[in-house]
C-alpha cells in the first residue's frame, strides 16, 4: 500500500498514544519508588490523564487514518472523555482504597492506564482487527485487576470467571469477525457496509457473522444470557475497579457495538433488530428482577448495571440518530451516577468498615445526613426519577424507541424501570426509614479527601445533566450525525 493512501495522521491516535506513553513511563517510574511511595504513581497518573483530557476532547479528524484502521471523530472523542473521567475518579479513589487493603503497588495504576488505552483504541477503531486489539488490551487489564485482591478468594474467583468467559467471548467475537471478513472481503468497518450491503444482505454466512459479533459484544456489555461473569467479577474486584468496569468497559463496548452495527451492518437491520430487541427486553427484565433479592449492594449494583445495559440497548435497536445519541448521553450520565454510588459504598467501607450489605445502610440518614442524601440522589437517578440525569437519559432512550415505533420495547423498558425502582428505593428506605440494628462499628477515622471530591463532583454532574441536558445532548447528536446514513 502506498504511503499516501495509508494516511499517516498522528493526531488521530494522539490521545491513546499519550495514555500508552503515560502508562509505560509509570511502569518505569515504579522501579525507582520505595514501597510506601507508590501512591505517587496514582497521583501522577491522574495528572497525566487530566492533561490528556482536553487533547482527547479536541482530537477530531473526520477521515480514517492509517489505512482506515482508526478514526478520530467526535464520536470517539465523546467516549474518550467518558473513559478518562471514569478512570480519574477510579484512580483517585484507589489511592486510599489500596492503602486500606494493604496492597499498594505500582502495577495497579499502570494496568488501569493500559485498560484506558484499550478502551480508547476500541472507541476509535475503524477496523475489526483494531477493534479486537483494543478489546483484548482492555479485557486483559481488567482480568488482572479483578483478581488483584490476592488474599481474598472471592477476588480470585471473580477474576478467573471473568477471564474464562471473557476468553470464550473473544473467541466467539473472532469467529464472527472471520465470517464477516470471509464474506465481505474486508475488515474495514466502513467498507463492510458497502461490500456486504445490497444483494449480500441476505447471505446466510454474513448473517452468521453478524449474530456471532453481536454475541461477542453482548458478553462485554453483560447482556442476558451472557451476563454470568458480571456479578462475581463485580463483587470480587477491588471496588474502584468494579466502578471502572461497570462504567468504562461498558461504555467502550457500547461504543464499538454502536459503530459496528450502525456503520457496518445497517443493511442487516431487518434481521438483527429482532435479535437485539429480544436481547434488550430479556436483559432489562432479568437484571431488574434478579437485583431485587440481592443483599450485597455491589451485587445489586451489578444486576442493576445489567438492567441498564438492557435499557441502553433500546437505543441501538431504534437505529436512529436519537437512539445513538441517547446511548451516548445515557453512558455519560451513568458514568457519574454509578461512580457516585460506588464512591459512597467505598466511603462507608472506609468510615465504618462496612457498607457492603444493604442492611448496613439502616439509619444512615442520622449518622451521615449529607452522604445519605447524596446516595439517595444517585439511587433515584439510577432509577430514573426526575429531575436527575438518570431521568433525562431514560427519556432520550424511550423517545428514540417511540420515534422508531418500538412501542412494546418502550413499554417493557418502562416496566423494568418500575421494577428496578423497588431495589433502589429499598436502599433509600433503609437509610431513612430504618434504625441501625445493634451496635454499629466504631468510626475508623476521617476518610481521605478523595471521597468527598468524587462524591460531590459526580452529584453535581448528575443534577446538571438532569436540569440542563441541552449542550451535552447537542454534542452527542453532532457526534453521531456522520455515522448515521
Amino acid at each position: 500500500m502506498p504511503i499516501e493512501t495509508l494516511n499517516v495522521n498522528l493526531l488521530s491516535i494522539l490521545p491513546m498514544a499519550l495514555v500508552a506513553i503515560l502508562a509505560l513511563s509509570m511502569l518505569v517510574l515504579d522501579f525507582f519508588l520505595k514501597k510506601g511511595d507508590k501512591g505517587a504513581i496514582g497521583y501522577l497518573s491522574i495528572i497525566g490523564l487530566l492533561i490528556v483530557l482536553p487533547i482527547a476532547s479536541n482530537a477530531i479528524e473526520g477521515a480514517p487514518a492509517f489505512g482506515g484502521m482508526v478514526i478520530a471523530d467526535a464520536f470517539s472523542a465523546f467516549f474518550n472523555c467518558i473513559f478518562i473521567l471514569a478512570a480519574v475518579f477510579a484512580l483517585y479513589l484507589s489511592v486510599d482504597y489500596l492503602k486500606r487493603i494493604n496492597s499498594e503497588t505500582g502495577e495497579y495504576y499502570y494496568i488501569v492506564l493500559f485498560a484506558v488505552a484499550g478502551m480508547m483504541v476500541m472507541s476509535s477503531a475503524n477496523d475489526l482487527i483494531a477493534l479486537y486489539v483494543g478489546i483484548e488490551l482492555m479485557a486483559l487489564s481488567f482480568y488482572v485487576l479483578t483478581a488483584f485482591r490476592v488474599r481474598d478468594t472471592k477476588s480470585s474467583e471473580g477474576g478467573l470467571k471473568y477471564f474464562v468467559l471473557g476468553a470464550l467471548s473473544s473467541g466467539i467475537l473472532l469467529y464472527g469477525i472471520s465470517f464477516t471478513y470471509g464474506f465481505s472481503g474486508t475488515t474495514n468497518i466502513s467498507d463492510i457496509a458497502r461490500l456486504a450491503g445490497g444483494a449480500g444482505a441476505n447471505n446466510t454466512f454474513m448473517l452468521l457473522g453478524v449474530v456471532l459479533t453481536a454475541a461477542g459484544f453482548a458478553f462485554k456489555i453483560a447482556a442476558f444470557p451472557f451476563h454470568v461473569w458480571a456479578p462475581d467479577a463485580y463483587e470480587g474486584a477491588p471496588t474502584p475497579v468494579t466502578a471502572l468496569i461497570s462504567i468504562g468497559s461498558k461504555a467502550a463496548s457500547f461504543a464499538v457495538f454502536l459503530r459496528v452495527f450502525i456503520v457496518a451492518f445497517p443493511a442487516f437491520q431487518s434481521h438483527w433488530w429482532k435479535l437485539l430487541w429480544a436481547l434488550s427486553a430479556a436483559t432489562m427484565l432479568y437484571g431488574s428482577v434478579v437485583a431485587i433479592p440481592q443483599k450485597n449492594i455491589i451485587r445489586m449494583l451489578a444486576y442493576s448495571s445489567i438492567a441498564h445495559a438492557g435499557v441502553i440497548l433500546i437505543g441501538i435497536v431504534a437505529l436512529n440518530g436519537a437512539g445513538a445519541a441517547g446511548v451516548m448521553y445515557y453512558l455519560l450520565v451513568y458514568a457519574f451516577m454509578n461512580m457516585g454510588a460506588f464512591a459512597i459504598v467505598m466511603y462507608l467501607g472506609r468510615v465504618r468498615g462496612n457498607g457492603e450489605y444493604v442492611s448496613d445502610y439502616a439509619g444512615m440518614s442520622s449518622r451521615h445526613p449529607v452522604i445519605a442524601f447524596l446516595m439517595a440522589l444517585f439511587l433515584l437517578s439510577l432509577a430514573g426519577i426526575p429531575p436527575t440525569g438518570g431521568f433525562m437519559a431514560k427519556f432520550f432512550i424511550l423517545s428514540a424507541a417511540i420515534k422508531a415505533r418500538y412501542y412494546w420495547l418502550a413499554a417493557i423498558g418502562v416496566v423494568s424501570t418500575a421494577i428496578s425502582l423497588f431495589f433502589y428505593a429499598r436502599v433509600v428506605f433503609y437509610m431513612y426509614m430504618k434504625d441501625a440494628e445493634g451496635d454499629s462499628p466504631a468510626p475508623a477515622g476521617r476518610p481521605a479527601l478523595a471521597y468527598d471530591v468524587v462524591i460531590y463532583i459526580t452529584a453535581a454532574m448528575t443534577m446538571l445533566l438532569g436540569l440542563y441536558p441541552a449542550p451535552f445532548m447537542e454534542i452527542a447528536i453532532k457526534a453521531v450525525e456522520p455515522l448515521i446514513r
Binding site: 433515584l380 426519577i385 426526575p386 429531575p387 431521568f391 427519556f395 424511550l398 423517545s399 417511540i402 420515534k403 412501542y407 418502550a410 413499554a411 418502562v414 416496566v415 424501570t417 418500575a418 425502582l421 423497588f422 428505593a425 429499598r426 428506605f429 431513612y432 426509614m433 430504618k434 441536558p469 441541552a470 445532548m473 447537542e474 447528536i477
Partner: protein, 515 residues
C-alpha cells in the same frame, strides 16, 4: 408599584418560595430548634398563601386562556420550555394547594415529634412540586413536577408514618411511578405524532392542541395517560395504594394526599386528556363513566365495612373522586363545572375530616370507631365542627358539597339519565356511612375505652377547624365567585372538545352527548 408587581414572575415565585423555605429550614435551623422550625414553616406557607391571593385579585374573568404566562426555553432542539400559566381551571386548585399547606403545617405542630426539620422541608417541597403540576403548560415540565412530587410524599409516609409505613410508602411509590411512566410514553408518542405531521417538535400543550391526532393514536395515548392519571385519582382497580398510604401517613400527609395529590390525577384528565385527545375521550366516555360510577358505589360499600375512622375517610375518597370523574366525563359544561368544584370541595371536606381524625388520634392514639361513644358531650366544639364537615362531605344543601354534587348530577343526567340514577345511589350510601360513623362516635352516652384525658380543641386547632368551616359555608351559600372563575375556561374546553370531535369524526361525540 402595580407595574412592578405585574412585571414579577409571580407564578415562579409562588412555586419556588416553599422550596426556598425548605432550604432555609434545613440550613438555618439548628437540630433542636423545633419551635423555630415550626414558625419558619408557618411563615413560609402563609407567605405563599398570601401571595397566591394576588392571583384571584388580578384574574381576568372573561379571559378563557392562560394568564400570568411565563416562558423560557429549556431545550431548543427538543422543544422543551419552562412554560407556566394559570387559567380558570387551575386557579382554584392553586389556591387550594397553598391553603392546604398552611393547614398541614398547623396540623403537624404537635403531631410530629422527631426529625421535624426534615418533615417540614418535605411538606414544603410537596407544595412546590404540586403547584408546579398545576401551573405547568409544557408537558415535559408537567411530567417532571408530576414525578418529583412523589419523592417528598414517599418520605413523609415512610419516615413519619404508622406501623406499616414502609409497606405503604413503597406501594404508593411503585404504583404511581409505574402509572406515570406509561403516561410519559404517551406524552412522547404525542410529541412525535405532532412533530411528524406538522414538522414542529414541541411539548408545548397549547401548540399540541391545534392538531387533530388520528383516532387510533388517540386511543392508545389515552390509555397511556389513563394509566398515569387514574392511579393518582385513584380509580378502581388502581386504587389499592390509597387506603394504605392514607392510613399510615401522618395527619398532614393524609391531608396533602387527599386535598392535593388526588387532584393531580383528575386535573390531568381535564387539562390534557380531554382537549388533546377529544375523540378518544368521547368514544371512551361511556367506559370512563361506568368505571367512575363503579368507583362511587364500590368505594361507598367498602367504606361501610370499615372500623377505623381514618380508613372510613380514606375509602370515602375513592367514592368521592369517582364522582369528580363522573362529572368530568359527562363532557358537558355542567358536569365539568361540578367536577372542578367538587375537586375543591373534596379537598376541603376530606382534608378537614383527616384533620379531625388526626386530632382525636393525637390525644388517644386510637382511631377505632368502636372505642368511642358520646364524644359530643366532652368535646362539643370538636363535635360540631366534625358534624359540619360530615354534612359537607355527604353533600347536604347549604354546604359546599351540595353545589358540586348537584352540578355533577345535572351533567350526568344530561349525558345519560341512568348515570345520574346510579350516582344518586352513591350519594345515599355516602350519607349512610358518614352519619353512621358520626352517630357511633359522637352521639349516645359518653364512653371511651382508653385512659387518656379528652380535652376539647386548643386555640391553634380551633383556628384551623374554623378556616375549614368558613370555606364550607362560603362555597355552600355563595358559590358564584368560585363558579365564575372557571366559567370562561370551561366553556372554551367544552367548545374545543365538541368542535374537534365534530370536525374529525362527523359528530359522533354529539351522539354520545345527546343520547
Amino acid at each position: 408599584m402595580m407595574d412592578l408587581l405585574a412585571s414579577l414572575p409571580v407564578l415562579s415565585i409562588i412555586i419556588f418560595l416553599p422550596a426556598v423555605g425548605a432550604l432555609v429550614i434545613i440550613f438555618a435551623a439548628g437540630k433542636d430548634d423545633d419551635d423555630f422550625v415550626r414558625w419558619l414553616a408557618l411563615g413560609f406557607s402563609l407567605a405563599v398563601c398570601v401571595i397566591s391571593l394576588y392571583l384571584p385579585l388580578t384574574f381576568d374573568y372573561n379571559n378563557p386562556d392562560l394568564q400570568w404566562v411565563e416562558r423560557a426555553v429549556w431545550s431548543e432542539r427538543l422543544g422543551i420550555g419552562y412554560f407556566l400559566g394559570v387559567d380558570g381551571i387551575s386557579l382554584l386548585l392553586v389556591l387550594l394547594t397553598t391553603f392546604t399547606a398552611v393547614v398541614c403545617v398547623l396540623a403537624s405542630w404537635a403531631d410530629i415529634r422527631f426529625k421535624l426539620r426534615g418533615y417540614m422541608a418535605m411538606l414544603l417541597l410537596t407544595e412546590t412540586f404540586s403547584l408546579g403540576v398545576f401551573m405547568a403548560v409544557d408537558m415535559f415540565l408537567f411530567y417532571v413536577f408530576w414525578e418529583a412530587v412523589l419523592i417528598p410524599m414517599v418520605f413523609i409516609i415512610g419516615i413519619w408514618g404508622g406501623n406499616r409505613r414502609l409497606y405503604s410508602a413503597i406501594k404508593f411509590f411503585l404504583f404511581t411511578f409505574l402509572g406515570s411512566l406509561f403516561m410519559l410514553l404517551g406524552v412522547i408518542a404525542l410529541y412525535f405524532y405532532h412533530g411528524k405531521a406538522t414538522g414542529v417538535y414541541t411539548f408545548d400543550s397549547t401548540v399540541l392542541l391545534n392538531y387533530a391526532l388520528p383516532a387510533d393514536a388517540q386511543f392508545w395515548i389515552f390509555i397511556a395517560f389513563f394509566l398515569g392519571f387514574a392511579v393518582k385519582v385513584p380509580l378502581f382497580p388502581l386504587h389499592t395504594w390509597l387506603p394504605d398510604a392514607h392510613t399510615e401517613a401522618p395527619t398532614a400527609g393524609s391531608i396533602v394526599l387527599a386535598a392535593v395529590l388526588l387532584k393531580l390525577g383528575t386535573y390531568g384528565f381535564l387539562r390534557f386528556s380531554l382537549p388533546l385527545l377529544p375523540d378518544a375521550s368521547a368514544t371512551l366516555a361511556p367506559v370512563m363513566t361506568a368505571v367512575s360510577i363503579f368507583a362511587v358505589i364500590y368505594g361507598a360499600l367498602v367504606t361501610l365495612a370499615q372500623k377505623d375512622m381514618k380508613k372510613v375517610v380514606a375509602y370515602s375518597s375513592v367514592s368521592h373522586m369517582g364522582f369528580v370523574m363522573l362529572g368530568i366525563f359527562a363532557l358537558n359544561a355542567e358536569g365539568l363545572k361540578g367536577g372542578v368544584l367538587q375537586m375543591i370541595n373534596h379537598g376541603i371536606s376530606t382534608g378537614a375530616l383527616f384533620l379531625f381524625v388526626g386530632m382525636i388520634y393525637e390525644r388517644t392514639h386510637d382511631r377505632v370507631i368502636g372505642s368511642y361513644s358520646g364524644l359530643l358531650k366532652i368535646m362539643p366544639f370538636y363535635g360540631v365542627c366534625f358534624l359540619i364537615t360530615v354534612l359537607s362531605s355527604m353533600g347536604l344543601p347549604v354546604t359546599n358539597g351540595f353545589i358540586g354534587e348537584l352540578f355533577i348530577l345535572i351533567g350526568a343526567f344530561k349525558a345519560y339519565y341512568l348515570y345520574a340514577v346510579f350516582a344518586v345511589v352513591g350519594v345515599l350510601l355516602g350519607a349512610v356511612y358518614l352519619l353512621w360513623m358520626y352517630q357511633r362516635v359522637f352521639l349516645g352516652e359518653f364512653s371511651y375505652s382508653g385512659h387518656e384525658p379528652l380535652k376539647d380543641l386548643c386555640v391553634r386547632e380551633k383556628l384551623t377547624a374554623l378556616a375549614f368551616v368558613i370555606l364550607i359555608f362560603w362555597i355552600g351559600l355563595y358559590p358564584a365567585p368560585f363558579l365564575r372563575v372557571m366559567d370562561a375556561s370551561l366553556n372554551k374546553l367544552v367548545k374545543t372538545v365538541e368542535h374537534k370531535t365534530s370536525v374529525s369524526k362527523g359528530g359522533s361525540v354529539s351522539a354520545v352527548m345527546i343520547r
